[in-house]
Symmetry: C2
Subunit: 318 residues, 2 copies
Amino acid sequence: MGEIAIGIDIGGTNSHFGAVDDTGEVLMESRFPTKDYPKPQGFVHAFSIKIQEVLKNYQGYDFKGIGIGAPNGNYFHGTIEQAPNLVWEGVVPMAEMFEKQLQVPVVLTNDANAAAMGEMMFGGARQMKDFILITLGTGLGSGIVVNGDLVYGHDGFAGEIGHTFVYQDVGRTCGCGRRGCLETYASAQGIKRTVFELMASKNDTSELRDLSYSKMTSEHIFNAAQRGDRIAKEAFEITGKYLGIKLADSIAYTSPEAVFLYGGLARSGNLILYPTRKYFHQHALNIFQGKASILPSELNEKYGAILGAAALMWKKRK
Amino acid sequence: MGEIAIGIDIGGTNSHFGAVDDTGEVLMESRFPTKDYPKPQGFVHAFSIKIQEVLKNYQGYDFKGIGIGAPNGNYFHGTIEQAPNLVWEGVVPMAEMFEKQLQVPVVLTNDANAAAMGEMMFGGARQMKDFILITLGTGLGSGIVVNGDLVYGHDGFAGEIGHTFVYQDVGRTCGCGRRGCLETYASAQGIKRTVFELMASKNDTSELRDLSYSKMTSEHIFNAAQRGDRIAKEAFEITGKYLGIKLADSIAYTSPEAVFLYGGLARSGNLILYPTRKYFHQHALNIFQGKASILPSELNEKYGAILGAAALMWKKRK
C-alpha cells in the first residue's frame, strides 16, 4: 500500500492536518482547534489521540511519522519559539512532545519552509534544485532551497526575507520592532497599508473608502481591483513593485531558477504577479536576466500546507 | 610527503599562484604576467610550462590538481565569462584549457567564492558551516557558505551581494548598468565616491582635497583617517553604515555564524570594522541579535587568494 505521513499546519485558531501518501495524495484532511488548548501539553495530548484514531484507517500503510509546519518553527530543535500568533508562550518543544506521545519520528520547521518543501516534492519545483518560495499571508515568509536542500542557517532561522529592508530606518513600522521591512509592504497587511496611504494622498473615488482599517481585508482589495477600482489596482501595482525590486536582491544571493509566490495574497493571480514580474525584470542584475522566473505556486491551495509539512518526512536533511 | 595543489588567482595585470599543501602551507608562490597575453590560449600555454617547472620541485607529493579563482568565474562550466577587468572577451573555458594542457583536474570559481573556500579550509571559518565572506576590493564580491558548501545557484553565479540595492533607482550609477548597488558604496571605489560627496557638501579642511579623483586610492583615505582627517574618518563611518545595514539584510537569508571582511578595504581594520558592526547590530532582526558576528578575515593577506583557490581542490562540491 505504500507509505504515509501525517502533515500538520499549526495555526492560531485551527491546526490543519492530513494523511498524505508518498505520491502527494491527501488521503484525509481535517482541522483541530488550536485555540481550545491554552497549554501545548493539552494540545499535543488531545491531538495525538485524534491522530491515532485517524491512523487506524490506514493500517496497511507504512507510517513514516509526522511533519509539522508552524509559525517560528525551528527545524534544528523541533521547537516553536515565541510565535506571536499562538497563545503558547516561550519555547515549546513541540516535536519532542509529539514523539514522546506517539513514539514516531517528528520533524518540525516554520510554515514557509514547509511550503517550500511541498513545492519541491509535489509542486512546481519538482525539477528544481535552487528556488525560493515566498508566502504572502498576513506577513511575508520565505523558504530558500539551495542545491536541493532547505537553507536553515547555523541556528535554524534562515529565510527571513520578509524582514529585509525596503526603506531602512524611515519606512513603515514592523511587528519586529524595526522600520521598513518588506513584510510591511508586501503582505495582506502591507497592501492594506498601501491602500490607506493612497486614500489619504489621492482623490479617486473608491469602494474601499467605506471600510474601516479594522474591517478591510486583502479580499476586499482584490474584489475592488477586479471591479476596476483605481485605488485597489494601484495598491496591487505598488505592492508588486516593492516585492519585485526586493526579489531582484534575493536572486543575487542564491541565484534560483524560480521564485514561487504562495498563500493568501498570491491567490490574487495576475493582479500581483504582473507588477511583481515587471519590476523584478527591470531591476534584476544583467547576469540573471532571462533566467529566474516569478511563478505562482502549484501547490493545491487547500492542501498546500499539509503537503508541505508531510513532505518534511520524505525529504529529511542530509 | 602529503598532497599539494596549485592555486591560481587570476588578475588583470598579474596572476598570483602558488603550491599549497593540505595543511594550508604555501610551499612557493610567484606571479605570472596576465597582461602579456592578449589571448587566453597563449596565457594557458605559457603558464602551463611554468607550472610544470614548479612541480618538478615537488615530485614527492601527490599532486591533486589546480584550483583557480577568477573574476566572473563560473564553477559549473569552468569558464570566465565577460570579465570586465580582463582583456579576454566573451566566455573563456579556462578550466578545460588547463586540463587539456596539463592532464590534471582543474576547478575554477569566482575570486570571492575562492576566498570563502580558503576561509573555511584554512582561515577563521574552520569550525563553521554557515558563513558569508565579503571581499572589499575595487568592487564588492561575496561567497556564501551554507551547511558547509559554497552556494552556486542553478547557474553558478550566486553570491552577488555587491549588486543588491542600497538605494534602488536613485542611488549611485553602478558598472552593472543599474543604480544604487551596495558595491558603489562599500568598496575601494565606493569610499572614494563618498569622500568626493563629503568634500562637496562640507567645508572641513582635508588633505584629500589635494588629490584628483583619478589619483585618489583607498590607501590615501586610510592614511588620512589614521592622521585624524575628518572627511576621511566620516567616509569610513558612512561606508560601514551602508555595509552594516545591508549585511543585516544578508543574514536574514542564510543566518550565518559570521560575516568575514576580506580584501583591500578590509585591511583598514577597525576604521571599517567598527562602523560596520555598529550599524549591523542596530539593524539586525531581533532573532539574529547576539548570534552573527562581523569578523576580519583570518586568511594571510599575501597568500589568501592562492590558499582559497587551492582549497577548491580539497573541498569539491558533493
